[in-house]
């Protein structure tokens, strides 16, 4: 059996002196879709930010390995170039940097790290427009500043566009489904399904059952008390919907 794509062991993360994650362990295999659910403040976003390498999310114990390599010694850009993608819960607005310019710069940075030549401009345009159309992102938004003046739903679709163009090996999507109407949710879910190829893995951080009904995760985890309180299959989502997080919080306490 091959080593997992993502292997987190006994991870402890402190933010502003407060321990948010306490000995969290998680394995994600190639091609798998994992869902992480949990109450507000449980540390779901902390896990996502720590995985991406954000300053201030200090790992004081444990390990994170990605395809056998230690993530802890890598900068955020090195992690990205290895194939780790973070879809932000609140994507930032960057006026003055066009969406297309960022997308192309990011793709070329990752290609350069992989020893590949820069993408042909025409090929890039074709690919970006095709993916934007698939995600029902208005063409004019490609020319605008990154997320500048975008609605909440458009920002999330834009994250999905970056995901579709960059084609990472592991995508951690932090509440990408939050704030989406039904149509937008279906678009995001179909974007994820389109990228499932048996190798690419996903970690979906979510509060809601509805996206999991559309994506069908292989495993569902409940994050509570700083660690994974319970793991199971899709049936765990039904249990959570029925009973809430109270039981898990008590168990974790």
């Amino acid at each position: 059996m091959s080593a997992p794509l993502l292997d987190i062991r006994e991870l402890t993360v402190r933010v502003e002196g407060k321990e948010i994650l306490s000995g969290l362990s998680l394995e994600v295999g190639r091609g798998e879709v994992h869902a992480i659910m949990g109450p507000n403040g449980a540390g779901k976003s902390t896990l996502a930010q720590a995985l991406a390498g954000r300053d201030g999310y200090g790992v004081s114990a444990g390990s994170m390995r990605f395809d056998g390599e230690d993530l802890l010694g890598m900068s955020p850009e090195e992690r990205a170039c290895k194939g780790l993608f973070l879809g932000f819960q609140y994507p930032v607005e960057i006026p003055g940097v066009s969406n297309m310019y960022l997308l192309r710069s990011a793709l070329n940075a990752q290609r350069k790290a992989a020893g590949q030549p820069e993408i042909n401009a025409a090929e890039f345009l074709r690919r970006a427009r095709q993916e934007a159309s698939r995600l029902k992102l208005k063409p004019e938004l490609l020319k605008r500043g990154v997320n500048e003046g975008f609605s909440g739903g458009e920002k999330k679709r834009n994250e999905m566009l970056q995901l579709a163009v960059l084609k990472p090996r592991l995508a951690v999507l932090d509440e990408t489904d939050s704030g989406l109407d039904i149509d937008a949710l279906k678009v995001v879910a179909s974007g994820i399904r389109a990228l499932r190829d048996g190798q690419r893995a996903f970690v979906l951080i979510t509060h809601y059952e509805r996206i999991l009904n559309l994506v069908s995760p292989d495993k569902v985890h409940v994050l509570a008390g700083g660690g994974i309180a319970r793991s199971g299959g899709a049936e765990l989502v039904q249990e959570l919907e029925a009973a809430g997080y109270e039981t898990f919080l008590r168990e974790a306490a």
Partner: protein, 287 residues
Amino acid sequence: MTNRISEIVVKAGARRSEVVCFEHRRGDHREQRLRIVLEPGSELELQELHYGRSAGELALQIDVELAQGARMRHAAVLDDPGGGRFTTERTIRLAGQAELEYTRLSCGAASDREILHANMEGRDSRFRHGALLLVEPGRHAGLELEIAHGGRRAASESLCRCIVSANGSGRFAGRIRIDPQGQGADARLRNDNLLLHETARMETRPELEVYADEVQCAHGAATGALDEAALFYLRTRGLTAPQARAMLVRAFASRISDAINLADAQTMAGTILNRALRDDGPGRLAA
């Protein structure tokens, strides 16, 4: 010391395009004066280019007069890696329905100080102003600005952006004055500053003086460092920290630099920005 006086006069109804070059040589110490007159209904595209290496001082007086209905686009670019000291006193007079678009980029001077007085004495005159001051380590740049609305329904819009490196300093003192005759004025004044290092300093003072009743005015200023959240976002997409910083600084500059769209000035501005914001090593704006 040398003194020179130049004049550009655009006859009524004529259209002209001019490039005025100021080459700064090492040890220069001089005063220069440029007078620009646009007669009624005339048009001028003016590129004012300052370049060279100077450790000297230049005092420049530029007087711009636009008669009734005249229109002018004016791009000024100053690049002096030699670190000269510059003082520019610029006076602008706009008659009725005259329109002026003036954008200036400066980089490199040990000290660059512009004192700008715009007098919008004509009815329905328009003035659009942009200034981008790139302050290299240990250097200084400043803009002192007064826009006086004396004519009815005059509209002005001024945006000054400063990017200040380590141990550098910037100063903005801007005032909009609406005189009692300036009813119906529409005036906007803004100063935004980006500090690239904790030792960078900026002093800003935007002011409004309103002596008329029916006006629309807005003024404001903001000073801060690069947005850490935006830097992290770009890095999670694969850009290195220097690439991400350069991209954000360039984006901040672009509101002004994009308005420099006359050919030679645009090329010069592009070269300055590329040198100042290299993403593969220390640029001129490095800490």
